[in-house]
């Protein structure tokens, strides 16, 4: 942790479940390596939920995949550290990763329709993890699978354990994914847009379930989404990402009420229930820069309504503007940004 890049304070400072420092990720492109994640720092403690928010391509998923050690082969981590319960993940052997995945850290993906293997029963896919990490017998694994299906709220668990993924709806499949992820009671669950592909009522049910499970299992939850509405529902703290960088971080309430970065303000204004007077949805003009042609200075400056000449000069660092509130905006003190009042 460096002075200029303060880490957001965790709820349980003494033993964070996951701790990321100065994480940078590069992808091999046609013209050498391209930086897609730039100096990310955060910690998550047990029973805590950290939201990672941003448009697609902002680096949220890269962050999650780095933790799981699932980055594509073309990716490399030139610097930074990821500690899972004190164990270093960056550069560790595959066997260590395979021991941690599924047992201490687990992940639920965005696409419930394609994330389950169509050729095996859901019971097999849940039990497999238990057998792998706890050396459980076939019978014990099956029993655990039934228990987990029950826990995630799938009716008739004892019978459904023998069903194949194609016999479940999208929402039910996402519950199965959670059952798989949580079967070995991991300390950390990463949920990458787990509800994006589902309709709104199912989404709400799943978020309720996730909250319940977090309480029951003392989970540290890293929740990735582009939807600030969902963030308000479930997260304790939020980090907003833009073009591979964290541009603002605060606890959820503060961030919503007093955003300190114009991009966050834009995201808040773009939320469906905050309509402009004309009744049209607000959207931030332009689109995020490609990793290769990042503008000089603040990455957001070409789209920012408040940009001043200084914004195109040096890249602004992430700094504390208040205790437990960080921003990358140079003008944060000057601007009076609009938040949301619940």
């Amino acid at each position: 942790m460096t002075a200029s890049e303060p880490t957001l304070a965790g709820a349980d400072r003494r033993s964070p479940v996951l701790s990321i420092e100065n994480l940078t990720v590069e992808l091999a492109g046609e013209h050498g390596h391209v930086r897609v994640l730039d100096d990310v720092n955060f910690e998550i403690g047990a029973r805590e939920t950290l939201g990672l928010v941003g448009e697609s391509g902002s680096g949220k998923t890269i962050t999650a995949l780095s933790v799981m050690g699932l980055l594509p082969k073309s990716a490399r981590i030139p610097s930074g550290s990821i500690e899972m319960e004190g164990e270093q993940i960056v550069g560790c052997p595959l066997s260590d990763l395979q021991r941690l995945r599924g047992s201490r850290m687990a992940m639920v993906f965005q696409e419930p329709m394609t994330s389950l293997n169509p050729a095996f029963t859901v019971g097999d896919q849940i039990g497999e993890t238990v057998r792998r990490h706890r050396g459980a017998s076939r019978r014990a694994a099956r029993a655990r699978a039934v228990e987990m299906l029950d826990l995630v709220g799938i009716p008739n668990a004892a019978r459904r354990v023998r069903s194949y993924p194609h016999e479940f709806s999208g929402g039910m499949r996402q519950r199965v994914m959670m059952a798989i992820a949580l079967a070995c009671e991991p300390a950390l669950l990463i949920a990458d847009e787990p509800t994006t592909a589902l309709d709104v009522t199912i989404q709400a049910q799943l978020l309720d379930l996730l909250r319940d499970l977090q309480d029951q299992l003392d989970l540290a939850l890293l929740f990735i989404t582009h939807d600030l509405g969902v963030v308000a529902d479930i997260c304790d703290r939020v980090m907003v990402m833009y073009a591979g960088q964290v541009i603002e971080g605060a606890d959820a309430e503060t961030l919503f009420e007093h955003p300190e970065h114009p991009y966050t303000e834009g995201l808040l204004r773009a939320m469906p229930h905050i309509e402009t007077r004309s009744g049209e949805l607000f959207s931030i003009p332009g689109s995020p820069p490609a990793p290769l042609d990042r503008p000089p200075g603040c990455a957001f400056n070409p789209r920012c309504g408040y940009a001043e000449p200084t914004c195109t000069a040096d890249a602004p660092p992430l700094r504390s503007i208040e205790p437990n509130h960080t921003t990358r905006c140079l003008l944060a003190e000057k601007l009076r940004l609009q938040g949301v009042q619940e």
């Binding site: 992808l27 890269i62 490609a290 990793p291 290769l292």
Partner: protein, 301 residues
Amino acid sequence: MTSHLETAHDSATPESGETPEVPRTPWSRFRRRFRTQRVGLISLGYLIFVVGIAVLAPLLATDSPNAQDLRAVLASPSGEHWLGTDDVGRDVFSRLLYASRTSLLAALLAVAVALGLGLVPGLVAGYARGRIDGIVMRIADALMAFPPLILAVALVGVLGPGLTNAMIAVGIVFSPRFLRILRGAAMSIREETYIEAARGLGCSSVSIIGRHVLPNVLSPLIVQISFAAGTAMLAEASLSFLGLGVQPPDASWGAMLGRSYRFYDRAPWVVLFPGIAIALTVLAFNLLGDALRDSLGREER
């Protein structure tokens, strides 16, 4: 994640200095893509070389292909007989050159028969749909259910041995492949004319077929012809090997091999060289087919 990769790629293109590639016609797109297929180009070059050999055989041959030299039976390769001689003292090199004519013609004939047999039923089935389509496809499926070489041998058995009959038999065996492609073509022609009629646009169905349907049919057809030519050459070699194809004294590569096979332990070259000629040529047809498929296919992402 994927979006990252794509953005990285897309944003790189304008900087790379290449002219933006907007193919004007399917043909120019094909040429642009085929040029990058090194293996395909080599295969095509090799096939042109073989055709050249076949055409120029009389000029290139060191000997008459049927001249027997009983003093030099099963002679090993030497300065006089570059690839040795066979069991009646004929020059293997010269026979190999002449046999390339038969082998290539046989493959051509079989593909033509297969295409011809598949053409009308395929187009009719695809255009008429319904019951006729059902019957034609059932028959095509039934033909594909036969072990191909057994069916070919049986057909030659009843027609009588000989190169033409053998290639008709191979053509019959292969016809369902072309039938399927042409049926698909006819179905899309139907769709296109239907759409055109419904919209009442000015273009004639001839121009629709010429501009949209034909290129889409030709691509799979050309690819299939290349593969089928290779397989047909193997089939011809097999039938001639069994003595059911070309009849003496004419020879194809397969016939040379079949006749001399019983001497393989004493004179492996009489079998080896025609065998290698077949393998290389079939390989070239297959690799060319792969390259054509990759260059003719729709743009993939």
